[in-house]
């Protein structure tokens, strides 16, 4: 006979410790990654999207507060910082290639970052969104911490920007390949750069899994667009509002 009381106390214990949430997070990722690899890297089966879906469904069906989950999973979240620093290595290894193409990189960087900002602004005006939401939307293409910083600076809501930024990352990483194939773009460096510029870290992950040069150019795209966007946006806002 299973003792109900005992089962309940074990469940209480599991919820309070990081071990369960860490195992769940890594397990969901491995499952999603397995599906992604089995599907021959089919972009719509993006491992980030699939594992977020798995974990969210579990949390929702057991009625678990997100804060409780994050309390345990934050140790994985912490590694995002060191992983960003570690991007220096692939960039370092392809440095000559980057210097060789620096002109292409800079022109695409300026045009691309401007496009990301202006399309978002234009469409938000068209949909007559409230000003606070527009300001939270504008920095959505760059890496989450930069996007949140910009949002705060210009009067948006940083947590809302975090949500929008992550959605942008998943959408770009899942749909980018179809767009590039449809346009018959062949150069992996161009595809990667555009992916990193528009969809930050999640775009880099997708590019890295496809091709090494694409991954490096994606990392360069994310880094540079982050820098340039944090300069352009405050100026753009002053000019507009």
């Amino acid at each position: 006979m299973i003792d109900q009381q005992k089962l309940y106390s074990i469940w209480v214990y599991l919820q309070a410790e990081p071990l369960f949430w860490l195992t769940l997070t890594i397990g969901s990722y491995l499952t999603a990654d397995y599906i992604y690899k089995k599907s021959n890297l089919f972009p719509l089966l993006n491992p980030v999207a699939i594992s977020i879906f798995i974990i969210s469904m579990i949390l929702l069906s057991f009625n678990i507060q997100y804060e409780r989950y994050f309390e345990g999973a934050k140790f994985i979240h912490f590694l995002l910082g060191p992983a960003t620093v570690a991007l220096a290595i692939p960039i370092y290894k392809k440095w000559d290639l980057i210097i060789l193409n620096s002109k292409a990189i800079f022109i695409s960087l300026f045009i691309g970052s401007f496009l990301a900002i202006s399309t978002t602004y234009g469409l938000s005006i068209y949909f007559e969104l409230p000003k606070e939401l527009i300001l939270s939307l504008i920095p959505r293409s760059v890496t989450t911490p930069i996007a949140m910083g910009i949002s705060e600076l210009i009067g948006g809501i940083p947590s809302l920007t975090a949500i929008i930024t992550l959605i942008t990352g998943v959408i770009g990483a899942s749909l980018g390949t179809f767009v590039f194939d449809f346009m018959k773009l062949k150069k992996m460096e161009a595809r990667g750069f555009s992916m990193g510029l528009t969809s930050h870290g999640i775009g880099i992950a997708r590019a890295m899994s496809k091709d090494k040069n694409a991954g490096v150019f994606a990392a360069v795209g994310m880094g540079l667009s982050g820098l340039i966007t944090s300069i352009i946006v405050p100026l753009f806002i002053k000019f507009i509002f």
């Binding site: 990722y29 980030v48 594992s51 977020i52 879906f53 969210s56 949390l59 997100y66 994050f70 979240h77 590694l79 995002l80 910082g81 060191p82 992983a83 960003t84 620093v85 570690a86 991007l87 220096a88 692939p90 370092y92 440095w95 060789l100 695409s108 045009i111 691309g112 399309t119 978002t120 469409l123 949909f127 409230p130 293409s141 890496t143 989450t144 947590s159 809302l160 975090a162 949500i163 929008i164 992550l166 942008t168 959408i171 770009g172 749909l175 767009v179 590039f180 346009m183 150069k187 460096e189 750069f193 555009s194 992916m195 528009t198 890295m208 091709d211 880094g223 982050g226 820098l227 944090s230």
Partner: protein
């Protein structure tokens, strides 16, 4: 292994401190990335022995780290799903803006770059 984890953490720490001291808009880890890259490039140029010896180790660990970036996004990503209600009635409009804006930017940036890149890039 421990050496290189230390170096990566150290550069992030320096990056975070730089960000706090200079009150920059750039996140600490991105500053750490730029600093580590600079040190690596300088060590190559001036053939600094200490860093050269460490470099092999750093490269191996760093590439393992980078491989798992998608995993590190999950804790925040789950928060997005749990907080979608923040967007209230604007959810559909916001999604439309994100999809359209992202697709246009992706397409035009890649197209422009493909035209501008040097012709024969070799992949390894």
């Amino acid at each position: 292994m421990l050496n290189s984890i230390f170096i990566i953490f150290l550069f992030q720490l320096i990056g975070e401190l730089t960000q706090k001291f200079l009150e920059l808009n750039i996140p600490g880890p991105v500053i750490g990335l730029i600093l580590l890259l600079t040190v690596l490039l300088l060590s190559k140029k001036y053939e600094l022995k200490i860093i050269q010896n460490l470099k092999f180790n750093i490269i191996i660990s760093a590439e393992n780290f980078v491989k798992y970036i998608p995993l590190f996004f999950l804790p925040v990503g789950v928060g997005v799903v749990m907080h979608l209600s923040f967007l209230e009635d604007n959810l559909v409009k916001v999604l439309l803006i994100i999809v359209t804006g992202t697709l246009v930017t992706l397409a035009l940036t890649a197209l422009l770059m493909e035209k501008l890149l040097q012709k024969n890039i070799k992949n390894d």
